[in-house]
């Protein structure tokens, strides 16, 4: 049996309302301040660093994102860490908040499908994150131009824009996860604690656990160890395991995009380097080809998590 009427009816209204809620909310304000303060400091330090160490580099702008010092991590590192927090903050009470405020049945008794509510809320969250990221991007590029005095080349702008898109996909994955939790749990506190637990696991614990598991699955070969090399199987397993965390996938993609001279992700074999001019940058299209799987994985993650939540939400009882 097919239902009649468009599932899109009301999406725009929900979107605008949620977006204005997000933008004016205190929790968003705090996160924005945090991001910009940290971002500003990190970029400032990076600029100092670049001034001191880099004589000539065609990709100075991109270095702003990746340059790190012993005491200060790179902007990329900060983003990998902070974006999930922002996404969780925006999504953890999307659906259960409506239940708890008892607005759900009233809103759904208006001529809209549930689809509109969920899609509108997701898009509003994504747009909010997008606005934040674009602002941060402009801040970084602007500071770079002002303080370094070098205009960015078209390729740098293109690379950093692709980086922006991938960052948004990464943020979307966490947002979809947070919204999924807000659907399956009835209390916002449970949702936010679960989300933060998973975030901690993916950020801190998994990078520690993954090597242990990799060594168990593929024990290092002593012959490689004698030569001071890592066993290829172990390294491959380690890499695959670490990719379970979206943070790692994002870091892989972002590093490749922002460092044009990285020619592969993970282990590189000698025969792959035959004929390569070490240190020479790859064209953008080649870098894109390298990060394509990562980009697809992140975007795929968004869809899988969103669809999972969608299915549960459609079958859920309106009554609390």
């Amino acid at each position: 049996m097919r239902r009649e009427g468009s599932p899109w009816q009301g999406v725009g209204t929900v979107f605008v309302k949620e977006l204005s809620d997000h933008v004016s909310s205190i929790r968003m304000l705090i996160l924005e301040l945090l991001t910009f303060i940290i971002g500003g400091i990190v970029v400032y330090v990076a600029i100092d660093n670049i001034r001191a160490t880099t004589a000539e580099d065609p990709f100075v702008l991109l270095k702003l994102f990746t340059s790190s010092q012993s005491t200060v991590v790179s902007l990329l590192g900060i983003l990998t860490f902070l974006i999930p927090l922002m996404a969780i903050a925006l999504g953890f009470d999307a659906i259960n908040g409506e239940h708890n405020r008892r607005t759900m049945s009233r809103i759904l008794s208006q001529p809209i499908y549930r689809d509109a509510l969920l899609i509108g809320k997701f898009l509003a969250g994504l747009a909010t994150l997008g606005i934040c990221l674009v602002c941060l991007w402009l801040l970084v590029v602007g500071l770079g131009i002002l303080l370094l005095g070098i205009p960015p080349s078209p390729e740098e702008v293109a690379r950093s824009l692709v980086f922006l898109v991938i960052t948004l996909a990464y943020a979307g994955t966490w947002l979809a996860f947070a919204i999924f939790l807000s659907i399956v749990t009835r209390s916002a506190a449970t949702a936010v604690l679960t989300a933060l637990g998973v975030w901690l696991f993916m950020t801190l614990l998994w990078p520690m656990i993954a090597p242990l598991i990799a060594v168990q699955i593929a024990p290092p070969d002593p012959r490689y160890a004698l030569l001071g090399l890592q066993t290829p199987e172990t390294v491959e397993w380690l890499q695959m395991l670490r990719r379970i965390s979206p943070n790692f996938v994002f870091a892989e993609a972002a590093t490749t995009l922002l460092s044009p001279d990285s020619r592969a992700i993970g282990a590189v074999y000698i025969d792959q380097l035959q004929g390569a001019i070490i240190g020479s940058p790859l064209p953008l299209s080649e870098s894109l080809a390298i990060v394509w799987p990562q980009a697809v994985a992140l975007i795929g993650g968004v869809f899988v998590l969103f669809v999972g939540g969608y299915v549960v939400f459609q079958r859920q009882e309106v009554r609390a």
Partner: protein
């Protein structure tokens, strides 16, 4: 009876093995106030949610204003207003903004919004708090704001779920007046409640729910005849030297005389027998202190009915 606006035939809802609504047949006529009565958990809210297409129907059919809420919920929800049990609003928005959001979801043209919101708020006497945040509203004000939403929608049917539960007596009577106002405006009203005296005050017809079934339907007076078995109950308080029982029993039309406490008698009759009863007391040289006729109260019907259900055999005839 006018043409029905809501028709249900064999409407059934099962959750797993539990049956919440069991083969309910229901007709709500245009322009009437119809009450759904019953203890909590009897299936009233589930029936309402099925009418709005907010929960799936397990069996049977339902038609609201000629639309099938299962297939075409948007068409139903465009024309039907719903006030859920313990309605919630967005606390951080003003009354006006809350209505504006609903208005946009309803698809009301932007240029009509302002006028319709003002008109609706005036109807429920909330004009002077239109720009106050809903956070500050009392329960009664929220309930009225919910009614304003239905007024603004220009709904043809208003479905109100426990509209007066938790309101103080003053707020309750104000709210019931507003419901009657809806009826005068030509809106059909379906309300569910367990507050019997209120239902009796406003409802044209009622349906009594018990464990997912409708066990009684009709105007209150008719139900009284069915359940209580007689039209009038006259109470007499008088003392006399002689026994009054026999004298009362001799009055034509009186079917039973019961002595309830020292000098109080309860006569059940098929007409108003107050004049005859007074004459009987005087004739017996007694002192008449009180003489009253009970309107059949829904509360009596309700408790009597459920008593009869508990002691089968006695009540089976009346319930049929």
């Amino acid at each position: 009876m006018n043409a029905p606006v809501i028709t249900a035939r064999g409407l059934t809802k099962r959750y797993g093995t539990a049956t919440a609504v069991d083969a309910v047949d229901l007709d709500v006529a245009k322009g009437e106030i119809f009450g759904l009565l019953g203890p909590n958990g009897a299936g009233k809210t589930t029936t309402i949610l099925m009418m709005l297409g907010l929960t799936e129907v397990t069996g049977g059919s339902i038609e609201v204003l000629g639309h099938d809420p299962v297939r075409d919920p948007l068409a139903v929800k465009r024309r039907v207003g719903y006030l859920p049990d313990q309605v919630g609003f967005y606390d951080n928005l003003t009354a006006e903004d809350n209505l504006a959001y609903s208005a946009r979801l309803m698809g009301i043209a932007a240029r009509d919004c302002g006028a319709r919101i003002d008109e609706a708020l005036a109807r429920v006497r909330l004009s002077d708090v239109a720009r106050k945040k809903v956070r500050t509203f009392s329960r009664g004000m929220r309930q009225r704001l919910g009614l304003a939403e239905i007024v603004m929608k220009r709904a043809e049917i208003a479905i109100l779920d426990e509209p007066t539960s938790g309101l103080d007596p003053q707020a309750t009577s104000e709210f019931l007046e507003m419901i009657e106002g809806l009826k005068r405006a030509g809106v059909s009203v379906l309300l569910s409640s367990h507050m019997l005296d209120q239902v009796q005050r406003v409802c044209d017809r009622v349906a009594l729910f018990q464990r997912g079934r409708i066990v009684l339907v009709g105007p209150v007076a008719e139900l009284a005849r069915q359940v209580l078995g007689a039209g009038f109950v006259v109470e007499v308080e008088a003392d006399a030297a002689t026994d009054l029982d026999a004298r009362f029993g001799a009055i034509p039309g009186v079917t039973s005389v019961k002595r309830v406490g020292g000098d109080r008698y309860r006569l059940t009759a098929d007409r108003d027998v107050r004049p005859e009863a007074a004459r009987a007391v005087v004739a017996a040289n007694g002192a008449l202190r009180r003489l009253s006729v009970d309107d059949p109260s829904l509360e009596t019907i309700y408790s009597r009915f459920f008593q009869q259900q508990k002691s089968p055999g006695e009540g089976a005839r009346d319930a049929a």
